[in-house]
Amino acid sequence: MTTQAWLLVAGAAVAAAGIVVSAVPRGLRSGLALQAFGVALIGVAGGLVVVGRAGVGSEFGNGLGPTVGIDPLSGFFIAAIAIVSTPALIYAGGYLSRSHNAPAIAAISGVFVLALIGVVIARDAVTFLMMWELMSVAPAVAILLASRSAETSRAVLVYLGSTHLAGVGVWLSILTLAHLGALTDPHALAAQPTLVRSLLAVAALVGFGTKAGLMPLHSWLPRAHPAAPAHVSAVMSGMMIKVALYGLVRMLFFWLAPLPDWVAPVLLGAAALSCVAGVLYALMQHELKRLLAFHSVENVGIIALGLAAALLAAAAGQRPLAALAFAAAMLHTLNHALFKSVLFLCAGSFQKQVGKLDLDHLGGLLRTMPLTGTAFLAGSMAIAGVPPFNGFVSEWLTLQALVQLALHGAPTDTAMGALAAAVLAATAALAVFCFVKVVGLVLLGAHRQKAVASSHEVPVSMTGPVIFLAGLCLGIGVVPGVVLGPIGHMSPYGPLPASLVGVTLAAPGSGAFAPLALAAVIAVCTAGLQLARRQAGTTAPSPMWICGQVPDSRLAWTSAGFTKSLRLVLAVVLRPRRTVSIELDGALVHSVVHESEVPHLFDEVLFRPALGRVLAASRILRRTQSGSLRAYLTYLLVTLAVVLAVVRVGLS
C-alpha cells in the first residue's frame, strides 16, 4: 500500500475511535480531538494525491461491490473537507462543553464528516448512494439533538423532504449511469439518444442542484443551516453543499459526455439567479445565521457561474479558457468553505456569549471579544470579496473567465458572458453592502443589550480554530498560486498555464494581477498613514459629536433601516410588507406598532402552492388508509383479481 492509502486507512480508524470516545462520558474533548486528528490524516492523504497527481485505490466501477479510491478531484475535496472540519471539530470541543446532548452531537459530527469523505472517495454507485444518504441524515440528527423546538422540527422536516426529493434525482442519474456503464467508459453515452442524456442531465441538475442550494431549489437551506449547532453549520455550509457540487462536477464534466447543449446556459442562468437573489435576500435578513445561510446560496451561485463558463468555453473549443474557469470555480469552492466556516464558527461563539443572534441586539462585540471579532472581520472582508482576501482572488478569476468568454466567444457566448459578469459585479457590490451591515451591527458601535456588554472572549479551543481559518483566508488571498497550481492537476481541460500559478496571476488576455505586491503596497501605505496619524496625536476621548445631538440608544440604526434605500428601490422585486397600526385613545396616540418583513418570494410563489397541492392530494390518498381491516381485505382481493386478470390476458 502507498503512503496515501495508509494515511487514509489510519485516519479513518483514528476518526472512528474518536467517534466512540466522544460518545462516552467525559470523553468529549479527547474524542473530538481524535476525530480532528483522524480527519486531518485523511486530508493529508487527499492533499498528497492532488500534489502527486497519482490516484490511489480503485478506479470507478459499474459494479455493486464496495470500492473506494482517490483521484486528484476527490483528493482536492478531501483536503478541503479536512481543512474545514479539523478546526470545526476542535472548536466543537469548546463549543459543546456543558451543552445539551453534547456526547451524541459530538459523535454524530464525526459520522457526518466521515460520510462527506465517504461520498467523495466512493468508487461505485452503491457506496456513493449509501454515503450520500448518511451525509444527508447526519446533520438532521445533529439538529434535532441540539434543539427540539417546533421551529427546528419544521426546519428538519423541510430539510429531509427536499433532501429526499433531491435524492430521487441523484439515485436516478447515478444508477442509470452505472447501468449504462458510463461510470467507467466516457464514450458509453455517445450511443444513447439525446433524450436519454437530457433526462440524465435534468436528474443530475435537480438532484445535485437541490443539495447544493442552487436557486430555485434552495428553499431548505436558509431553514436548516441556522438551526444546526455552529460547527455542524460550518461543515454543512462549508462542505456539504460543496460535496453536492462535487457530484455535479463529476456528472457534467466527466460522466455525461457528450453534454446536451442546453445544460451550460441553464446552469449559467440558475447560477446568476442564485448569486444575485441569494445575496439580495441575505441583505434583507435580520438574524445572523439565516443571513449567512443565504450567502451560501450566493456563493454556490458564484461557483456555478465558473463551472458554467468552463462548459461554455469547452463547447466553443477554448480549452485554456475552460481550464481557467474551472480553476476559478474550484478555488472559490475552497475559499467559500474557509470564510463561511470562519463566519459560522464565530457566530457560534457570539451565540454562546450573548444568546440570540438577532442583528439589532448585538453591537460592539469587537471590544469584548477582540480575537473572535477580528477573525469575524477577516471572514466578512473575504466573503465581501475585497482585496487582499481570498474571496477577491476567486471572484477576480471568475469575472476574468466570464469577461474573456464575452471577448472571445461566439455571439451568444458574448451576450451570456457579459451579462453574467455584470450580475457578478452587482453581487459583489451587494455582498459588500451586506457585510458592512453585518460588521457594523455585530462588531462595532455601542452595545445594544446588557448581555453583550457582559460578554467576554471565548476559550482558546474556540478562538484558535477561527484564527487559523481566517489566517488561511488571508494567506490564499495573498499567494493564491500555491493553491492554483495543484488545482490545475484535476482539471478535465489540462493543467493551467505557468503564468497563472506563480506570484502574479497573468490570466491570458488580462492585465495580470499580483496579489502579493498589492497586499504589500496596501499594508505599507496603511502602516505609514497610521504612523503619521499617531504622530499628530489624538484629542482626549470624547463622546461622539453626531451633529450636536445627544446620543440615544433608542435612535440607533437597525438592520432594516440601513438597507431601506435599497428596499425601496427594489420594492417591485422584493415586495416588502409593512403594517403600521396606530392605537388611538381619544385624540391621543396610545401606541404605534410597526411591522415589516421581506417575504421570501420563492417560498410564497413557488413552493407554498406546490406544497399545498401535494398535501391536498395526500389528503385524498389518506382516505384509502381507513385503518379498517375490511377495507384492506378488499384491497387485497382487488389486487389479486387484477393480477389474475393480467396473467390471464397477458401484458404484451
Binding site: A429, V521, S542
Partner: protein, 306 residues
C-alpha cells in the same frame, strides 16, 4: 514598469496632483456662476490645515474607526498605481481593469463600516445610500469597461488605452454607449450633481460626506485626499479610454492633461446646470446607463456577426 518613464512619473505624481482636480472643478464652477471662486490650489490649503490638527477618536470606537481612513487611502494609492497614464504604468501589480473594481470596493467597505462605529444617523444614512448606489454602479462600470475591452480583446488597461487611441473606435456604436455609461460612473464616483451635492456639508441629502462627519485632523485629511484621488482615477480613465490621444511620448501627456481639464470643465457645467435628483431616482438613471450598455453590447454582437 511598462511604457515611457515620463508617463510613469506622471502616474506617481498623480498621488500628489490629485487634489488639483476637485479644486479645478470648484474654480470652473465658480466662474460659470459669476463668482470669483477659490484658487484651484484650495484643496491643498485645506489638507495642510487638517494635517496640522489632531484627530478625534470618539468613545466606544474600535480600531476599525481609526484604521478606515488609512485603509481607504491605501486602496486608492493602489488604484492609482493600476490606472495607466498614456498606456504606461509602473505595473507593480498589473494593470487589470477588474482589480480596480476590487480596490474601490475595499475603500468603500472601510469607510462605510467605520460609519457604524460612532453610529450616528447622518453617517449611516450616507453610508447606506453610497452602498445602494454602488449596487448599480458596479455592474455599470463593469459593462462599460467590457465594451471597451471588447475593442481591445483584452482586459488589460494598457491595451485598452492603446486601442482607444486608434481613430476607428469612434465609428463603433459600442464605444459611444460605453462612453455615456462611463460618464455616469464618473458622476457617481466623484459624488457630483445630479447624484450628490459636494457643496453640502450637513444636510439630510448628503451621501458621500455623511460617513466623514465624525472625523477630524489627519483622518479627515486622508479621507479628503481619497475623494480627490477618486476624481483623478475616474477622470484619467475616462480621458484614456474615450479620448483618442496621440501615442508619442511628450504629446500624449499634454493631450491627456488637456482632455482631463476639459472633462473637469464639463463636470463644472453639469454641476451648474443640473439640480440634485431625488435619491430614489438615481438607480433609474443608472439603470438607463445599464440599458445603454445593453444597446452597445447588442451593436457589438451585431457587428461581430456580420
Amino acid at each position: 514598469m511598462r511604457g515611457s518613464i515620463l508617463a510613469v512619473a506622471v502616474q506617481l505624481a498623480g498621488l500628489v496632483m490629485a487634489p488639483l482636480l476637485p479644486g479645478l472643478i470648484q474654480t470652473i464652477k465658480a466662474r460659470l456662476q459669476g463668482r470669483r471662486g477659490t484658487s484651484p490650489l484650495q484643496p491643498y490649503r485645506e489638507l495642510r490645515r487638517l494635517w496640522h490638527k489632531r484627530s478625534v477618536a470618539p468613545l466606544d470606537t474600535t480600531f476599525m474607526y481609526r484604521m478606515a481612513p488609512s485603509v481607504s487611502a491605501a486602496a486608492l494609492v493602489g488604484a492609482l498605481l493600476v490606472v495607466p497614464i498614456g498606456a504606461s504604468t509602473i505595473g507593480w501589480f498589473g494593470s487589470d481593469m477588474l482589480v480596480l473594481v476590487g480596490l474601490l470596493a475595499l475603500a468603500r467597505f472601510a469607510t462605510a463600516a467605520a460609519a457604524w462605529d460612532p453610529g450616528g444617523g447622518f453617517s449611516l444614512m450616507g453610508a447606506g445610500r453610497d452602498l445602494m448606489f454602488s449596487v448599480f454602479t458596479e455592474p455599470l462600470l463593469l459593462l462599460a469597461l467590457v465594451l471597451v475591452a471588447a475593442g481591445a480583446r483584452s482586459t488589460d488597461l494598457i491595451r485598452m488605452v492603446a486601442a482607444a487611441s486608434d481613430a476607428h473606435v469612434a465609428s463603433l456604436p459600442a464605444h459611444w454607449c460605453a462612453a455615456l455609461a462611463f460618464g455616469l460612473v464618473v458622476l457617481v464616483e466623484t459624488g457630483r450633481q445630479p447624484i450628490d451635492n459636494p457643496d453640502t456639508h450637513l444636510e439630510l441629502t448628503m451621501v458621500h460626506e455623511g460617513p466623514l462627519l465624525e472625523y477630524a485632523g489627519r483622518d479627515l485629511a486622508m479621507l479628503q485626499w481619497t475623494s480627490a484621488a477618486r476624481h483623478w482615477l475616474v477622470l484619467m480613465l475616462a480621458a484614456g479610454l474615450f479620448v483618442p490621444l496621440p501615442q508619442t511620448a511628450p504629446w500624449n501627456i499634454l493631450a491627456l492633461a488637456a482632455a482631463v481639464a476639459t472633462l473637469c470643465a464639463f463636470i463644472g457645467v453639469i454641476e451648474s446646470s443640473l439640480a440634485k435628483m431625488r435619491i430614489l431616482r438615481v438607480p433609474a438613471l443608472l439603470g438607463a446607463g445599464v440599458a445603454t450598455c445593453m444597446i452597445g453590447l447588442a451593436s457589438w454582437i451585431a457587428q461581430g456577426a456580420t
